[in-house]
């Protein structure tokens, strides 16, 4: 292990467990420096803001170190210790709720801060959380308007070719990215305690709550299904973020192309609610119960469903913002005198700051060397960073192996023939082949157009609140995530999957 590179973030001295979590499920394995500054930094600021609003006394969530995210050898990580610490200081959730929701059920780390949090302190967070829920829709509406204005600004600036206008549009967009990130991580953070409370109430009020939970926790609207409508149609440049890889702005350049090679759908986009006709199962559930049972759990579930929807919408807005930069960064780099793909090795602030411009070329050259070296390093999904003093040198990291625990995230049982992304299905009932079950490592928005055509889905990565899990529930496709068989299944094999229990059986 060499000395810390300038592109790496410093590991937190106290909160030392890192995990890729959701980043590994939907984002490229390695990010360019620019993409990290456009996504990772706002994520840190968003999580800090969320924590400060809910727990004003949590001084551990401040300081000069990155607390909630990390970027090591071009790989993005969440700080699992810090996120579990949030759960510890909120009423309802425990560490397992965090790892089950976002970290593929890995064992939670030991508590490292030793910070005691009384029951009263936890309860004080309840009204603050209620305020978060209350403000959600208003913030989302304002953010949608801001993103639309930013798109207009960028389009105008790019057409005019006026560098100053482009810089101002970028500055404005950065503030919008911060707000989108804040909203996304607020909704993600709120879902864990809300889900924990819902589960406790559900188990008390309704028999077989475990079977009901995935049925009732579906967003009432399908945000990913109507995005083209919301943005303005697939022919518009603004809509093309849906076909672009998530989280990587420099996907047109190597080596980032290799890491972010998004799945290009074979089937034409058929969005806008053309999925299979689904019964509104949640309504069936509510009508089945009466009185306190119904009112209590219905209201909770609607809150959780709305928050899930807001989370997906804010994620989409983040990606729309990222796509703005994807379009504008070559022009911004040209203004700064940086040629070719050099901007991918800079942070956005370095590119926009006029002070650094004379040194940018040297900086790009030095970063290229660092990135080349970093990309040769094998980065595991989980990292543990010992204290620098204990290690007697630069921070060292070690991999923690884990066995995958399959999880059913979208209920239903289906038997069918395996298809992979290379053998894209043309329909869930191809002639003579029967239902198609799509098997893949993970998925981003590109997989969405296939979901109406598949009968089931098995992924190697994923958790209950993964992007693919949310999409699968939207489309009513029985889905199992985090299943080791997804690595070995081959097109043409026959399997039976159970989206409730997470079981997958290979028939032939």
């Amino acid at each position: 292990m060499t000395a810390r590179r300038s592109i790496d973030t410093a590991p937190h001295p106290d909160l030392r467990w890192y995990s890729t979590g959701n980043f590994a499920e939907v984002a490229p394995a390695r990010w360019s420096v620019m993409s990290w500054s456009l996504v990772g930094d706002p994520a840190e600021r968003g999580l800090r803001a969320f924590t400060a609003r809910l727990m004003p006394n949590a001084r551990w969530a401040t300081g000069t170190h990155y607390v909630f995210v990390g970027y090591f050898a071009c790989r993005p990580y969440h700080n699992l210790s810090a996120l579990c610490q949030i759960a510890h200081e909120l009423p309802g959730p425990d560490d397992e709720d965090v790892t089950r929701a976002y970290f593929e059920g890995v064992p939670p780390p030991d508590r490292e801060l030793g910070r005691h949090c009384s029951a009263v302190q936890r309860l004080l967070a309840v009204p603050r959380m209620a305020r978060e829920f209350h403000r959600l829709r208003g913030r989302l509406a304002a953010l949608e308007a801001d993103v639309a204005i930013c798109e207009e600004d960028f389009t105008t600036a790019l057409q005019s070719g006026w560098g100053l206008a482009l810089g101002r549009a970028a500055e404005r967009a950065l503030r919008v990215v911060d707000e989108a990130s804040d909203l996304h991580y607020s909704t993600s953070g709120s879902l864990v305690p809300a889900g924990a409370v819902q589960r406790k109430v559900g188990e008390r009020l309704l028999p077989r709550w475990g079977e009901l939970e995935p049925l009732v926790n579906r967003p009432r609207e399908l945000p990913w299904s109507r995005l083209f409508d919301a943005v303005g149609g697939p022919e518009l440049e603004e809509s093309r973020f849906l076909a672009a890889p998530f989280y990587e702005a420099a996907d047109a350049f190597e080596p980032w192309t290799t890491y972010s090679r998004a799945f290009q759908p074979h089937a034409p986009h058929e969005l806008g609610g053309r999925g299979p006709k689904q019964e509104e199962v949640a309504d069936v559930v509510w009508q089945m119960y009466r009185g306190v049972r119904r009112v209590g759990i219905e209201q909770l579930s609607r809150a959780v469903g709305d928050t899930m929807q807001a989370r997906e919408e804010s994620k989409a807005l983040m990606m729309r913002c990222l796509h703005l930069f994807r379009r504008a960064l070559p022009a911004l780099a040209g203004e700064a005198g940086v040629d070719g793909d050099g901007w991918a090795y800079l942070r956005i602030r370095e590119l926009l700051s006029p002070v650094r411009r004379p040194q940018l070329e040297q900086l790009v050259a030095a970063r290229r060397r660092e990135v080349d070296e970093a990309l040769t390093e094998d980065m595991p999904d989980e990292l543990f960073a010992p204290r620098p003093a204990d290690a007697g040198g630069p921070p060292r990291r070690r991999a923690v192996r884990q066995e995958r625990t399959p999880s059913g995230v979208s209920p239903g049982v289906v038997a069918g023939m395996v298809a992979t992304l290379d053998t894209a299905p043309a329909g869930s009932e191809r002639n003579g082949d029967g239902p198609v079950i799509l098997v893949c490592e993970s998925a981003d928005a590109g997989i969405q157009s296939l979901l109406p055509h598949v009968a089931g889905l098995i992924t190697l990565r994923g958790s209950m609140l993964s992007h693919i899990a949310t999409l699968a529930r939207e489309f009513g496709v029985p889905t199992v995530v985090n299943h080791p068989l997804a690595e070995t299944l081959r097109a043409g094999q026959h399997v039976v999957l159970n989206g409730s229990t997470g079981e997958v059986e290979v028939i032939a």
Binding site: E211, V284, Q287, A415
Partner: protein, 325 residues
């Protein structure tokens, strides 16, 4: 002609198998046990790929079967959503898929239930999608299954809706473990049960052996894409059925109408041990127009007199309710 009865060792399925066999029709009974009361028995599972059949067995079966009668499933009114999705819905889909693989298929008959109507309002003949609410996952599962069948345009299907299936059973005796009969042990203990209007509303029961005959007729009659609704044309009320069932013990069920106090009474009765899911049937069931029976072939058999009482007798002989009495 070769008939396949899915769920052929069940309460209704066994009657269907007998009815086919008595007509001299070659019949195959599919069940998890692999048994058969007549004809050939094959071990299968509707929740498994290709019904859990070996490829060679599946191909041999599909090449010879001309009629499929699907009467598998649980009538557990207290089961959860997995019953609806995994057994009734996915199972029916698997049966239809198998039927589609049979080149000589002439008819697929699906055994449905009047309970697919859930809490639907108004007079009903053969409608299905009425925006109705459901009392439990059994109703919703049967609804999904019937919708799956009616949505199939590749098969000559016919669905037959029946009410609670009673009768002494020739090969398979009735049990008080699920369905309407689960309330019998509670009534035998002498506890009161609340029924709106003292249970003077129809519950559309029928006799299992006769239902088997009707299902076979549904398989053999010409015509397709029809929904038959069949029940005892005497239209006994729920109170009459419960009284008949308990008559075997010389017990008169204590049926009360608590009117506005019903919610409190329901809670109290639930505390006494009444199955919660049965209490959902205390209000009048869906209003099925009597003329649905006139839409069926005129020579269909009628339920024999005394089948309700005979059900009680059969239950009394079973170990399950003997202790309760």
């Amino acid at each position: 002609m070769r008939a396949l009865v899915v769920g052929g060792t069940g309460f209704v399925g066994s009657a269907v198998v007998r009815a086919f066999a008595e007509r001299g029709i070659d019949v195959v009974s599919l069940s998890r046990s692999g048994g058969a009361f007549a004809g050939e028995g094959v071990r299968a599972d509707v929740r498994a790929h290709d019904l859990g059949l070996e490829r060679a067995d599946a191909e041999a079966l599909s090449s010879s079967v001309t009629h499929v009668v699907s009467c598998f499933g649980s009538v557990d009114w207290g089961a959860g959503p997995r019953l609806a999705s995994e057994l009734h819905h996915a199972g029916t889909r698997a049966v239809l898929r198998f039927a589609e693989s049979c080149p000589g298929i002439q008819r697929v008959v699906h055994l449905s239930s009047v309970l697919v109507l859930g809490r639907a309002c108004g007079r009903i003949t053969d409608e299905l999608e009425l925006g109705q609410a459901f009392r439990n996952w059994y109703e919703y599962g049967k609804y999904l299954a019937e919708r799956e069948v009616r949505g199939n345009d590749r098969l000559p299907w016919r669905t037959v809706r029946v009410g609670p299936v009673l009768g002494p059973g020739r090969d398979v005796p009735p049990t008080a473990s699920d369905g309407m009969l689960a309330v019998v042990p509670f009534l035998l203990r002498g506890y009161p049960i609340h029924l709106a209007d003292h249970g003077r509303f129809p519950c559309y029961p029928c006799d299992a052996a006769t239902a088997g005959e009707v299902l076979v007729r549904a398989a053999l009659e010409p015509g397709a894409s029809e929904t038959w609704t069949w029940f005892d044309d005497a239209e006994p009320t729920l109170a009459e059925v419960l009284t008949g069932l308990c008559g075997a013990w010389g017990v008169v069920p204590r049926i009360v109408d608590l009117a506005v106090l019903a919610p409190f009474g329901r809670a109290a009765i639930e505390r006494l041990g009444a199955p919660r899911e049965l209490l959902d049937y205390a209000d009048p069931w869906a209003d099925i127009a009597t003329q649905v029976l006139k839409m069926l072939p005129g020579d269909l058999p009628r339920c024999p007199p005394g089948y309700v009482e005979a059900t009680g007798e059969a239950l009394r002989r079973s170990a399950l309710t003997r202790g309760a009495a």
